[in-house]
């Protein structure tokens, strides 16, 4: 099992007008990212939010499925939520991983632009398979992570090209595609003889 973690960042985030804001936690992000993380054996999915009240809201949703009425109704959802942790900022997520793995994680994010430290999916997939370092994949909400913060990360993953000009994937889709590219089966190597 790879030492891969993901984090969904709610601050510092750009809004539509290029202002730095804190975004709200979306219920569907909690559910979808937990299920996708569990499917790809992600060790923890960190919900990263600076506000105590928002973290409490996310905890209430998860408690319903982990120990409340939902836990008797949907065991799969209960299992998915075992991967989720809540932290106030990125550094707290990095610290938790460092303590657990006894090694600081490589911190990677995605962006629509190319940077000097842009890394290809193939290269990062190899690095993860080598399993030398833990890896924290960060995803932005809103209109993306604030730029000076971007520069502090080890690598930026290439944008996802779908084949056209339109590039507005939901974060729930981007996480699924990226985890499949980095951790999914090597389906393209299978024989095409059927």
């Amino acid at each position: 099992m790879s030492k891969t973690y993901i984090g969904l960042v709610h601050y510092p985030i750009y809004n539509r007008n290029n202002e730095v804001v804190t975004t709200a936690i979306a219920n569907f992000d909690i559910h979808d990212l937990a299920r996708t993380s569990r499917t790809y054996n992600i060790k923890n999915y960190f919900i990263i939010h600076p506000l105590e009240s928002q973290i409490r809201l996310a905890q209430d949703v998860m408690d319903y499925w982990k120990t409340g009425v939902g836990s008797k109704y949907n065991l799969d959802r209960k299992e998915a939520f075992t991967t989720v942790e809540t932290v106030p900022d990125i550094e707290a997520a990095v610290d938790q991983i460092t303590a657990k793995e006894q090694a600081r994680p490589i911190v990677v994010t995605t962006d629509a632009r190319i940077y000097p430290n842009t890394i290809s999916y193939g290269h990062l997939r190899e690095k993860i398979a080598q399993n030398d370092h833990p890896c924290l994949l960060l995803f932005g909400t809103g209109f993306g992570l604030e730029k000076t913060m971007m520069n502090q990360f080890d690598y930026i993953l290439e944008p996802i090209y779908g084949g056209g000009e339109y590039n507005h994937l939901p974060v729930r889709a981007a996480v699924a595609i990226i985890l499949d590219r980095l951790l999914g089966e090597a389906w393209w190597q299978a024989g095409n003889t059927d």
Copy 2:
């Protein structure tokens, strides 16, 4: 541009107790599947539902973004919804594609089990790239498409393996991963020299 279409099927669907039911249209499915479809140049995303009242609800949501207040606020969402069509059943979707493309589409779906007509991602990717036939990819809601209906389709795509035992991806994640495998860039062929 490939002649690829997707459809989200709400009847006939299994529920948790293996009974055949009609599922409700989920607001997030409309948004997420439209955005992912537009990113991967899908020609139409068909919302397939037998009930007029549910179709009207989906239309109301989309009208808000296509011509209502939302159309002035979020142009990307307006563009995503141009791909969406609503139809009462699968046959109506097939008929629309046949009329538009002057050829009956290959109809493909996904399932957690292996069938005699199971097809690999690599093989279907090649078929789509050849562009000889239009292709309709169907996705189930709830606990999946009713079995006698499955037998009428041309191919069943292999299950998505994430590397573990847990296999409960949200349909929004499954659609994203499958479109990326079938239509995304061949990222695994890029040189890993960085």
